[in-house]
Homo-oligomer: 166 residues x 2
């Protein structure tokens, strides 16, 4: 028996079809196709996106800050969209603002991990969106190195808007 | 007679060779080559970079937020590097942190304008770098629409480091 959509377990993966739809949407965007943005892992609790260093290198041979900003931003955006897909809600997700910290240069392939900010949950955000047509959620992403250290962090606010009824 | 390098007039353009060197550095970075990043205008007071919408479009047909973040970040970075080139100082420039606000969707080619934050000047930043080997400057960039409105803004801190003497 299917679980009702409001019951979320953070470690549970999204359906393969939902994950494939997100990858397809990402790859169709020219700036994300160019940096090789790929879905690595997608659970209700977090989305992990990757991108090869070779496509994102700067003049110093490490990862370009703009690529890290892009990957962290779209990892948050993608997680919100996966929750909308799962809940069957049609809405557009926009980033409103973000704060990024660059902590250490990255000399390896990029991996961005995104999740809702602690204390905020998707069930509540989706319920508000369903009732009001608009919902915000604060999110956090990081570029996580192979050794587990964070090389950059992003805190951002995202808003989803249901199309107005005509 | 050449002006001494410490006298800066904000409206004065950088030398064509300095501008060409910046364009060459930008185009050699795969993620910036991919978004079509081009130098539009470069004076001592500001750097203007552009990128075509077609290479930076999202799933909604407007400009991808990550591309705007990249272009604003590298516009600041580029202006700092032009000042280093002009002053003949060899140093690496890094972005430390940034705050970005997304104000309105962009349906036209991107144009990012970067400058030092009001109250901070390049002469002082370069003098400190010369004396101490390290210098920070806060900068501001915006995505400016054809009608003059700002579609996104970035405030960021950049640091330049001279290589340690061996």
């Amino acid at each position: 028996m299917d679980k009702p959509p409001h019951l979320l377990t953070t470690a549970e993966p999204f359906e393969p079809a939902q994950r494939a739809q997100l990858q397809s949407t990402l790859s169709a965007m020219p700036p994300l196709h160019a940096i090789g943005c790929a879905v690595f892992d997608a659970t209700h609790g977090h989305l992990v996106l990757g991108a090869p260093l070779a496509l994102n290198v700067n003049d110093k041979g490490n990862a370009f800050g703009g690529s890290m900003a892009s990957l962290m931003t779209v990892a948050c955006w993608g997680l919100f969209n996966l929750h909308l897909l799962r809940a069957g809600i049609h809405a557009e997700v926009y980033v409103q603002d973000s704060q990024i910290r660059y902590l250490t240069p990255v000399y390896e392939d990029l991996r961005a991990v995104a999740q809702a900010t602690a204390g905020h949950d998707w069930t509540e955000a989706l319920n508000i969106l369903h009732d009001k047509g608009k919902s915000r959620i604060p999110m956090r992403a990081a570029i996580v190195l192979a050794d587990g250290r964070e090389a950059a962090t992003l805190e951002a606010r995202f808003v989803a808007l249901r199309p107005a009824v005509k």
